[in-house]
């Protein structure tokens, strides 16, 4: 059975590029436009990995990360941050909030798939 990835980004083009890459590798992809949308979808579906942007309207990726980690079924689900942000302080915040890894945009499809495979097997 295909593993399901929740891809969260307010940019439609990024969501499409992520979905294209992941679907091509056989993953099921659920898309969310921001943190609030992602939280709602995370509660509706069984997700094997969350891939989220940080700077988004309504609810940003760090807030989403913190809220997901409070949910019992998301305590161990890998959460990767996919963002333009790369400063050490924001990475430290993400790490402290429970992020599994940090990918700086623009992503390379092959590298993204390698990281995901490493994280969820």
């Amino acid at each position: 059975m295909a593993k399901t990835i929740l891809a969260v980004d307010d940019s439609a083009s990024i969501r499409q590029m992520v979905a294209f890459t992941l679907k091509g590798a056989g993953y099921e992809v659920i898309q969310a436009v921001d943190g609030e949308d992602a939280l709602e979808k995370a509660n509706q579906h069984t997700v094997n990995l969350v891939l989220t942007d940080i700077n988004m309207p309504r609810m940003d990726g760090l807030k989403l990360l913190a809220l997901l980690r409070k949910l019992s079924n998301y305590k161990t689900v890998p959460i990767l941050m996919l963002t333009t942000e790369s400063s050490d302080d924001i990475k430290a915040k993400g790490r402290a909030a429970g992020a599994t890894g940090w990918l700086v945009k623009p992503f390379d499809p092959k590298r993204l798939l390698e990281v995901i495979a490493k994280v969820i097997g």
Partner: protein, 189 residues
């Protein structure tokens, strides 16, 4: 109140109104100037978003065609008998190579097509900077008394410098530091 006093008061009031009107006009001009910059940044954002949307549609279409092409070449290869002429087999081999190369190029385009997101974030950041500077300059303009000639030039410069510095500190960190479209770093915690 004498008639002369009344005339002086009226004249003073007129001057005050004129000054206030000039003051308001100046603020409006500054505001309009910054609004125009914001509007132009918005226009750039819309143009880029539109272009990116179109490129993504083109990308998906080319990707579908390439997949179909790849599948067709595989079917033709299977249909070709083992004793098929050498030129036909060579042609099929070349077709397969082309299909593979197009797929590789499409993969590379996935990285490049993310430029829209980076530019949109940078434009939002720049728009925010413009808003902050406008607000701070308007504040300096309201607070100072250089219009009545009491303020020295260096004080005006200090006021503007202060406004720029406040705008800088109120501004969020720059969300995009990438200078090119090379793949970003990856770190697993």
């Amino acid at each position: 109140m004498t008639e002369m006093q009344s005339n002086i008061d009226n004249q003073f009031t007129d001057e005050m109104n004129s000054e206030n009107s000039d003051h308001a006009l100046c603020n409006a001009e500054v505001d309009e100037y910054f609004m125009n910059i914001k509007s132009e940044l918005g226009q750039v954002d819309r143009l880029i978003s539109d272009a990116v949307n179109n490129l993504v549609i083109n990308f998906h279409y080319i990707s579908k065609l390439t997949k179909t092409h790849h599948e067709m070449v595989l079917v033709i290869e299977k249909m070709a008998s083992p004793e098929a002429s050498k030129p036909i087999l060579e042609l099929l081999d070349k077709q397969m190579n082309i299909a593979d190369k197009i797929e590789q190029e499409l993969e590379m385009a996935i990285t490049s097509l993310q430029f829209g997101d980076l530019v949109t974030q940078l434009l939002a950041h720049t728009t925010h900077q413009v808003e902050m500077l406008n607000m701070e300059l308007q504040r300096v303009d309201r607070e100072d008394n250089w219009r009545n000639g009491k303020t020295a030039l260096h004080t005006i410069h200090e006021g503007i410098t202060k406004a720029v510095n406040i705008a800088k500190t109120k501004n969020n960190r720059k969300p995009v530091v990438q200078q090119g479209m090379q793949m970003g770093d990856v770190e697993l915690f």
